[in-house]
């Protein structure tokens, strides 16, 4: 409950931040809408129409009270509803992130389990070395290499730039078109999750309760999954919670490179066009999303480790 109040407070601060930040951006909406040759009088009329002549705090209140009612305004540029634009773009981001996280966890957990069983064994060394290599390659390089290999060499459809298809029109094609971004983001997450879980597992396996589990005559497999995994996964969840926020940002770059019309692509386009309201809306949506994700992960961590909520 206390956390929920905190959550609302944080969202409020974010909304002010995202609103004010936009006003620091260079660029003039009047120039974008009316063109460079517009007369000062025409500009003044437009500013008045848009409410931009009022003090910033009044602009904020006008905006936030609309946002609270689900109305994020109408873009100066495209004349379309900001909320509708975000609603169309957001599922793409969510899909990419969910896919990438499924891939990352599905690979990182078994890999860490195997590594931790024999630290410094052949498998552990191999995974350790290759994960470091992967960590040092940024996503925008990986995606370019993947496009080169998968879309151009192998010719898998819908994987190249500007070939996005929606989930509704072609589910398989949609999966294909989001597989490269999801895979690219999964690599970074995999490396982080693998390393965090591996080191925690190794520490947990030194614990006395693992020896006790052994002394009950349990199988190695059962000890790993039933006794070692859960107490070792708290740091993993904490890391994932922070990492997913960061993924939104790397997702933006990848989306932009492949022209996938998710939030990231929309945001970068909106910034280039000084589309204030749209930028504000997206920044607010993404920030709230990150806060909510953190909140959910906190909740999960409390369930996974009962010691935390008791303290």
């Amino acid at each position: 409950m206390r956390r929920l109040v905190m959550l609302i407070g944080i969202v409020f601060v974010i909304s002010i931040g995202s609103f004010y930040l936009i006003h620091l951006l260079p660029g003039d909406p009047a120039v974008v809408i009316l063109g460079t040759g517009a007369s000062p009088a025409a500009k003044a009329i437009l500013f008045h129409q848009l409410g931009l002549d009022k003090p910033v705090y009044l602009q904020y209140f006008a905006w936030i009270s609309n946002v609270a009612r689900g109305n994020m305004g109408t873009s100066f540029i495209s004349q379309s509803s900001v909320a509708a634009t975000i609603r169309a773009a957001l599922p793409i981001d969510l899909e990419i992130i969910v896919l990438s996280q499924i891939l990352a966890f599905a690979a990182a957990i078994p890999a860490a389990m195997r590594s931790a069983r024999k630290p410094d064994g052949a498998l552990d060394r191999l995974l350790g070395a290759s994960s470091f290599t992967l960590l040092s390659v940024p996503p925008f390089i990986i995606i370019v290499l993947l496009v080169l290999l998968i879309s151009i060499k192998l010719g898998i459809p819908h994987t190249g730039p500007s070939s996005y298809v929606t989930l509704a029109s072609d589910p398989i094609g949609n999966l294909e078109s989001l597989s490269l971004p999801a895979f690219t983001l999964a690599i970074g997450s995999f490396v982080v999750y693998y390393r965090v879980l591996r080191s925690d597992l190794i520490a947990t396996l030194q614990e006395e309760f693992i020896t006790m589990a052994r002394s009950k005559g349990l199988s190695q497999r059962r000890i790993m999954w039933r006794h070692a995994f859960r107490p070792s996964s708290v740091a993993l969840l904490g890391t994932a919670s922070v990492n997913i926020g960061g993924l939104l940002a790397s997702g933006f770059v990848v989306q932009y490179l492949l022209a996938i019309p998710g939030l990231g692509y929309t945001l970068i386009t909106a910034i280039n066009m000084s589309d204030y309201l749209l930028v504000q809306g997206i920044v607010l949506t993404v920030s709230v999303g990150v806060v909510v994700i953190n909140f959910i992960f906190d909740f999960i961590i409390n369930i996974v480790d009962p010691r935390i909520s008791r303290e």
Binding site: F209, T211, S215, K216, G217, L218, R230
Partner: protein, 332 residues
């Protein structure tokens, strides 16, 4: 029923460390009858914990070499695979660990930690295992066991946790219970409760118990025989009475003298053993206790004394200059 439950012969455990091989247990031999309680006594670092783990084959899986033999009810533990040892763990031999704060899984309900052994090892179904786990909690004296079944270890006191550890060890009715300093982590008032509980359970369940401790007071009334360890070796062994009253090894006497006595006046300074236990990485060829022993001669520093029989049956000691036999006059 004179068949031995446990036979330990020339058992050695050596750890590979960065500083070279570390002989934590060196050439230990003893045996244990059915339904007997044996005490293993020694200072911290004397190898008693490693010994008890090696006997049941529970030593770490890497960087360790075990030689000799330890047979539990006919099963040779030394050299057995982890898979083979799982067959005797829980059912033939079980361990009560030293510190109940660390030996229970903090994120698993205690009931689950008990009935997991029942389900995996005895093949009980969920309901039967739960019923048996609650019975076990009751057996070890946990109040309202049905509610406690769902508690996490952090919700219980140290004494209660140690009872849970004992219940877990007893789950599959082992014939041999190894209790490794079962009361060290507990308050003094709780210590006696736990020890009495172990005693009572031993009688009720017809188990043999090995009680590992640094506290001679703990073993005095509860064991029939005692093994005194120093630097990984047995330095004296015999019936509890003989070890207490007719000990020949100066180390045993030093150990006895350093435990507080009720008859002491208050503020009596406790007797201590000068020096500290030797570094196992570079032991001398002589008696390991010689550097701290007031009776030590050149021979003690140069040649290691073998275990030799004393007057009493089953009593043996390793010393070149044993204390005079104290038959007829008790020294303690």
């Amino acid at each position: 029923m004179s068949e031995k439950l446990l036979i330990v012969k020339d058992l050695s455990t050596t750890f590979a460390t960065a500083g070279g091989p570390l002989p934590a247990v060196d050439g230990v031999s003893f045996d244990l009858e059915q339904n007997e309680t044996l005490g293993i006594v020694g200072e911290s670092g004397s190898g008693k914990t490693v010994l008890s783990r090696t006997i049941m084959g529970l030593q770490p899986r890497t960087n360790v070499t075990v030689t000799g033999s330890a047979t539990i009810n006919g099963f040779e533990v030394v050299g057995a695979s982890e898979k083979a040892k799982r067959e005797i763990w829980g059912t033939e031999v079980a361990m009560v660990f030293q510190d109940p704060m660390t030996s229970l899984n903090p994120v698993m309900r205690i009931g689950k930690q008990i009935d997991e052994a029942l389900r995996v090892r005895l093949g009980m179904d969920r309901a039967a295992a739960k019923a048996r786990a609650i019975e076990l909690l009751e057996l070890v004296g946990i109040p309202s066991p049905v509610e406690r079944y769902n508690a996490f270890p952090g919700q219980l006191s140290g004494g209660m946790r140690q009872r849970v550890v004992i219940a877990t060890a007893l789950a599959c009715s082992p014939k041999l219970l190894m209790a490794d300093e079962p009361t060290t982590g507990l308050d003094v008032t709780i210590q006696a409760q736990i020890l009495n509980l172990l005693d009572e359970l031993k009688e009720r369940l017809k188990m043999s118990v090995i009680l590992v401790t640094h506290d001679l007071g703990v073993v005095a009334t509860r064991t029939s025989r005692i093994v005194v360890m120093y630097a990984g070796r047995i330095v004296e062994t015999g019936n509890t009475r003989d070890v207490f009253y007719h000990h020949r090894m100066p180390y045993t006497r030093a150990l006895l003298e350093s435990s507080p006595k009720v008859s002491n006046l208050s503020h009596t300074r406790l007797t201590t053993i000068p020096g500290r236990p030797p570094n196992l990485l570079n032991l001398s060829d002589g008696c390991s206790f010689a550097p701290r022993c007031s009776y030590a001669t050149d021979q003690c520093h140069l040649v290691r004394p073998p275990l030799q029989a004393a007057d009493e049956p089953g009593h043996a000691f390793a010393c070149w200059n044993p204390l005079p036999t104290t038959r007829g006059a008790s020294s303690s």
